[in-house]
Symmetry: C2
Subunit: 648 residues, 2 copies
Amino acid sequence: MAVASSTYTVTFQPGDILCEGVAHGANLLRVALLEGVHINASCGGTGACGKCRVAIEGNYEGGKSAKLPQPDYDAGLRLACRVRVMGDLTVTVPEESRMGDSAALTHERRPGPGRVLTPQDLEKLVTGWKVDPVVRKYPVQLEAPDAANNIDDLSRLKLGLKSQHGLEAVSVDFNVIQEMPETLRQEDWRVTATVVETARGPKVIQLAAGDQAGEDYSIVLDIGTTSVYAQLLDLTSGETVAQASEYNGQISFGEDVISRIVYSQREGGRKELQEAVVGTIAQVVEQVLEKAGIDRCQVSHMVAAGNTTMTHLLLDVNPKYIRIAPYVPAATFLPPVRASSLGIDICDHVHMYAFPCVSSYVGGDIVSGIIGSGVFQTDKVTLYVDIGTNGEAVVGNSEWLVATSCSAGPAFEGGGIKHGMRATRGAIEAVQVEPATGEPHILTIGGKKPIGICGSGIIDAVAELLEAGLLGQNGKFKEAAAGEWLRKNEESRWEYVLASGEYTAGGQDIVITEPDIDNLMRAKGAIFAGIATLLASVGMDLDSVEQVYVAGGFGKYLQLDRAAAIGLFPEMDPDRFTFVGNGSLLGARLVSFSKDMLAEAERVARMMTNIELSDNQAFMDEYMAALFFPHTEMKYFPRMEQILSKIQ
Amino acid sequence: MAVASSTYTVTFQPGDILCEGVAHGANLLRVALLEGVHINASCGGTGACGKCRVAIEGNYEGGKSAKLPQPDYDAGLRLACRVRVMGDLTVTVPEESRMGDSAALTHERRPGPGRVLTPQDLEKLVTGWKVDPVVRKYPVQLEAPDAANNIDDLSRLKLGLKSQHGLEAVSVDFNVIQEMPETLRQEDWRVTATVVETARGPKVIQLAAGDQAGEDYSIVLDIGTTSVYAQLLDLTSGETVAQASEYNGQISFGEDVISRIVYSQREGGRKELQEAVVGTIAQVVEQVLEKAGIDRCQVSHMVAAGNTTMTHLLLDVNPKYIRIAPYVPAATFLPPVRASSLGIDICDHVHMYAFPCVSSYVGGDIVSGIIGSGVFQTDKVTLYVDIGTNGEAVVGNSEWLVATSCSAGPAFEGGGIKHGMRATRGAIEAVQVEPATGEPHILTIGGKKPIGICGSGIIDAVAELLEAGLLGQNGKFKEAAAGEWLRKNEESRWEYVLASGEYTAGGQDIVITEPDIDNLMRAKGAIFAGIATLLASVGMDLDSVEQVYVAGGFGKYLQLDRAAAIGLFPEMDPDRFTFVGNGSLLGARLVSFSKDMLAEAERVARMMTNIELSDNQAFMDEYMAALFFPHTEMKYFPRMEQILSKIQ
């Protein structure tokens, strides 16, 4: 992955709040907000509101804005949202930039954000493997035939692979045999065989003249319902050479797996969906090859991890019964398929390995995440959660694993929210609400004018509104708190203004409504209930969980205390939480690099027990109990209980 | 094969010569000639010469001709060439219809013709097998999924095949998985799986709704350089349903394998050849399906036996180095290939099994013949000979086998002979020469006007000319014997008139020339020398051979004593000779019916040792010694030695 760059320490004053590990070039307002240091900000970080004034000592760049008068600038003030951290800094936040009238910064009331791992750390999650891919290139120098030894070319090749590489009972793909005589003689019987290790022995899938053993690459894919991520791996060095991502081209046929399955049942629909995702794959494959300057003929295999529906659609397998009770996929283990037969523009011998799935709603992406995060190796009871439109949860360790999936709805991805949007530039991703005034301070992704609010922004906003006393635990606004930001709209419905139209990209107020909050409550309720039911199914509860891995792009912006405040997760020691990012891609990498890991992935998929939540009364009970902020049962939320008791 | 019909006994007088096992409807002149009973005949059996007059008692049809005057007819005479045997007969051959002036018929001087087996007998050559093909259909009734058991469809199918048929570790072809969900539910979870037994376990290659287990067929092919034979087999009953044959469409690109290999190296040539033979296969497949009224979807596999070059060209594998020393084929063992990928119009799951080959010139047709004739099961030292453009010989038994191939040239197929032709209608297939006058008596295939002479006709003619004293052992005509039939042509070269222009289809004389005889000598010399060298390579000689199997359509018309007379085979007890006909097709049938036989075919191909004759001095010496009729060393030809000594 990216090369590690130096990191800095930023100290906020007053209060001596130390922020360590700040990346070179980081946005200072973002550093403050993600650390929980409150600095006023209404415009999302574009410099338009001019509220985030700070004084800085140390090495930085930027900080100017038309909204910062020259006298203030001359006095040493800068706009935090326009500052890039270039070294260790000491940042003094003046009283007018602080929330409310507290003398100190408010950092102390927030727990840490949980571990967000660097690429290097991520690779250390799994141990005991080496680069030894399932597809390898073997150079062979054969003896030329003569009258005393005129066995057929195929037998000669097999004998060479046996004597020079110890490969026993090799089979050779028919397509290789057809042109083999000329290939063998082209460089005087020196050839390179691309050999795949199958469950049934080694198989030569390509033969090239000369020694080409050093030029061996793979492409791994995370096929998400929304996005497709690709990495080009160097199978010789074990390094990542390039990466790319694009929105899954299937989006235009439906946002979620259910609508895709429905579409697939139309005349020609399945083929359209298959071609759409292959089109996206073509783009990311093109991008990684171009970035790395690698010829596509040097790619010898591909690995794809996706949920069960994505896997079916990629391989053009009928997904119809995934969505019809009792929710039966066509197959959970699919054989490797020639990538070219799927329509991917790659050499004919390249096979696509689709991660095995567990059930209709616990897919290859989860199996891949369990591999990539090392859950399959740990002794600790681990909760692995992947939050998206579907929330999947896995509990277990190296010896046992149970998994489930619950439909959270699209709230965490900004769906079903009046001003919701995906976590892209211009999305409000972090929110603070000033308890005294109810004023929001916001930060957008990319420091752009606010366009809408993404999943983590909604969570932040609801958590802040709860703690600021503007929102009740039942998800209804407190009319008593009405004011500049909490107001009734034209239809006499309550809404909270996150960003005023004067700062937004569209020129209109960005608001949160009660239906938005209700959607969020149902989403977090489903996930919490799913986790609780899953644990109960193995006679455990949240206290049994020793560590939590959170996967998904979502986790990148998620603040643990905010997630606990709304009841998505219980309050736990942040050190027990790890954000693994794209766990699915992590596992796909490992499987691509190591045939042992491929075997582990199959073992994990077989070992994982699926707990079905539909028509599950225990889940329904848990779900009803979770439709409250943070929960009707406050056992796992002592901090929130204390905060809320003060508000009452 | 064909249903056995009743057979009759024909008794020739004078001499009480009994011919048993004569088929219903057989041509009486043919019965006589093939039995060695001489009856005059100059026109080939068309009724045109009117010489073959006989008196008949018993049940028959025909016998009239414009050449038979009414008084003769009224006196009870018939033309043997126009008579069809319909019951037991007693046939009196009057003196004027006999050769020369001998009082008796000349049958006694000829040994029996060797065993020509009926289809029923042929099937008994191999024992200990049952109908249990490598591809089988298994009906399965699965339980419908419910919430308590919602495993994926694929796992459900595998469990069903395991519990209901004991199939372990089943894999399922990806193409089957894609549409499996609907197929399974179409007839309420009752399906029929087509399963192929691979070296690596059972694999489902097709899935159909409902119970279709009884409808299971295969097509077996003998891919000859000249002709393609097909049979449609019923894999449930073990019966042959239909058969068909066509000339191999590759003929227009060259008559023999060498010219085909040369052509294959042209731009696009290999593809042209592949498409040509596939075109022929399409014809014979169409014919057998139509004859039997079987839908092509009920065919579940195909088996093809061919020589090494034919196998390469059928599968579009580069054959280039087969013809270049040291004669290396691309592969001798080729994996089963989807027949549709070869361009054959058949269901996608149907695989083509090509018989394994041994070397560049000992191919799958020979391996198939060894299987089909049961040589691989016998304790007796057996010589298996397949005579065509290439003569292949195998010696061995159930424990060891050595094989070789020698280029005989096309003489046995009528090639390189002035009036030579293939063994089709109008070809002179049997010849007798009257010693006293040198007059030829001939029989054509189909009783048609003579067009030319085929391989067995040449052998007959040369043998008769030798025994009648018209031809020397050195292959030169004896000028002293010149007369009406042995004459000099316009170029002052000697030739023998087999059929006068007044009787031939073309209106011109059909003759045998010294170059024709020379070609035949070289052809028989190569085969005899090949056999001798092969035997010597394992420290044996002809005396060691306990039985001889002769394969090839050629054998159908070959008279053993004639073959021995020219020195193609040694003189041996005719009971030790068996003509197995198309041995290659026989073996392909067995392999199609029985997976045990498929395993045996692979064992045989691995076990067979190839003896290379090119650059082999022992072979060259044997060959030079064999360039004489019957041979320079008369040890194996005592009968001929005696006959020739009388002539000298």
